[in-house]
Homo-oligomer: 302 residues x 2
């Protein structure tokens, strides 16, 4: 891992976990000339004070230019909607060095890459989109943990304009943190995550509303199946609204397909189509049995 | 717990776990006159041999009358579709004693109770429907465990014809095994489980088919959210086909409601209804955050 000074922009669950993971793997010592210097920017003074108290970053500040100055890697870990604005501010402040590498942790890529890549390129730095698929329904710095990326999938989304060296270095960075990296175009990424992440989130929320919204009293009879199939509905509502709308075309398509399939299955009950119902359940069982995740990066939680 | 000889009919996950749980809690000793005698019936000789090798039941046999003779509690743990036939066979064999108590572990109740209650009553014994909400996507004797019922919800479904003493004794039996019991009419039970158990199962299967059935290659990018929200789709396809069709009216109603809600949410993406989408996610989060299961009876599994 060949970055020397890493600036993390936004100290939420992912940003905070990055700070911890880097500090744990390569403790910084100015005297010995060892380790990786990690700096972190937060918008709110009280969160910056919390970061300072944690003591894992060399610098925690609300001053974006100060945090990014001299960094060879900048990781955008803010909400997706403010990433481009952050980049504009740090370019305007002259804080982004020529040859520096910028990446992000956003869960939608096509719109983000299309907006940020040209800005960063024009300033002589390199942008590579990243999506570490880690995290849980818990949000915020207080849940940050150094091991969050271990065993997680991390999707890199280079474009034909990406710098090959920067792509390699970002890939190495995530592998150094324990993630399994893959590469996909930003558009293929957005279609894939609409299916494996955004649709399941929406379905979990619809299931909760359809069951507990309609008949709160049945909660007393719910067991492990309901618990697990709705766990992700506890995710941060603002963050997920933003993610789903940022990726709305791919999500709409995945949801429409799911809705069509759900409608077809209604007919199994109207017309007592035992064979068709059995085929649906047997196919789903066989596909789910064959599913193996890359790693145990999100421990199931109640 | 005041049963002395318990006959378990059907050694699957639930029946096998019952045998283990009873043997562990009240080890039987003829010499000392201690404990509860547990007997178990299996249809297939190889499973009976397996039960004999386990050594936890006093008697394991393919002979229904032999197993039930002298039992003061008979627990039907076969698939729902063959329960009534089992009861007819043991009544015909004269094996069911006057005053004996019969219960079951079936996950659908109205149809089962309506068929079995009059048969059992006519023979001078008492039937009380039970539904211990334990188990997982794993099936069969090899997954049986004594602790399966600890902390699980167990729904008892008495009718106006139920014997009050038998109801109390069945209630005590499940509590003795560690379950939290509640009482509901068979019809209210079926509506409740359609929502908290049968609909989630169907939705998990539809989600797997909609995602992996359509685009198997995206499995590589799936994380903990997809894993947990689809876990129950690995359940036994034949058993679930039977359960869903046995309870088809209530399942159809729950599924139709879910389908309608899913259709409404499609419009959030067509018309960019940010506020409505946010309200759905925030309501679902708040309801899911408020959900607490009775106990940790189904450990999440990958």
């Amino acid at each position: 891992m060949n970055f020397q000074r890493i600036a993390v922009i936004g100290p939420g669950l992912l940003g905070g976990s990055l700070v911890r993971a880097i500090a744990e793997r390569a403790p910084f010592s100015k005297e010995k000339g060892e380790g990786v210097e990690v700096r972190v920017w937060g918008r709110r003074p009280e969160v910056v004070a919390q970061l300072q108290a944690m003591g894992e970053a060399e610098l925690a500040s609300t001053d974006l230019a100060e945090v990014v100055a001299g960094a060879d890697l900048v990781v955008l870990a803010t909400p997706i909607g403010v990433m481009a604005d952050c980049v504009r501010r740090l370019i305007d402040a002259g804080a982004l060095g020529v040859g520096a590498v910028v990446t992000d942790v956003g869960s939608v890529k096509a719109s983000v890459v299309a907006e940020i890549e040209p800005l960063v390129s024009a300033s002589g730095a390199h942008f590579i989109g990243s999506h570490p698929m880690a995290g849980s329904e818990k949000n915020g710095l207080e849940y940050a943990e150094a091991a969050l990326f271990e065993g997680a999938a991390c999707l890199l989304t280079p474009t034909p304009l990406s710098d090959a060296g920067a792509l390699e270095r970002v890939d190495e960075f995530w592998q150094w943190l324990g993630a399994h990296t893959s590469r996909l175009s930003p558009e293929a990424h957005d279609r894939a995550v609409a299916m494996v992440s955004h649709l399941p989130h929406l379905v979990a929320a619809l299931l909760v509303e359809s069951v507990l919204g309609r008949s709160p009293e049945v909660a007393a009879f719910a067991g492990g199946g309901f618990r697990d199939s709705t766990r992700i509905a506890s995710g941060h509502a603002e963050m997920w609204t933003e993610i789903l709308l940022e990726n709305r075309e791919a999500v709409r398509e995945a949801l429409a397909d799911f809705h069509r399939l759900t409608g077809e299955s209604l007919a199994f009950f109207d017309d007592l189509k035992k064979e068709e119902l059995h085929r649906l359940l047997a196919d789903a069982k066989s596909r789910r049995d064959g599913f193996r995740m890359n790693g145990p990066h999100t421990p199931p939680q109640s």
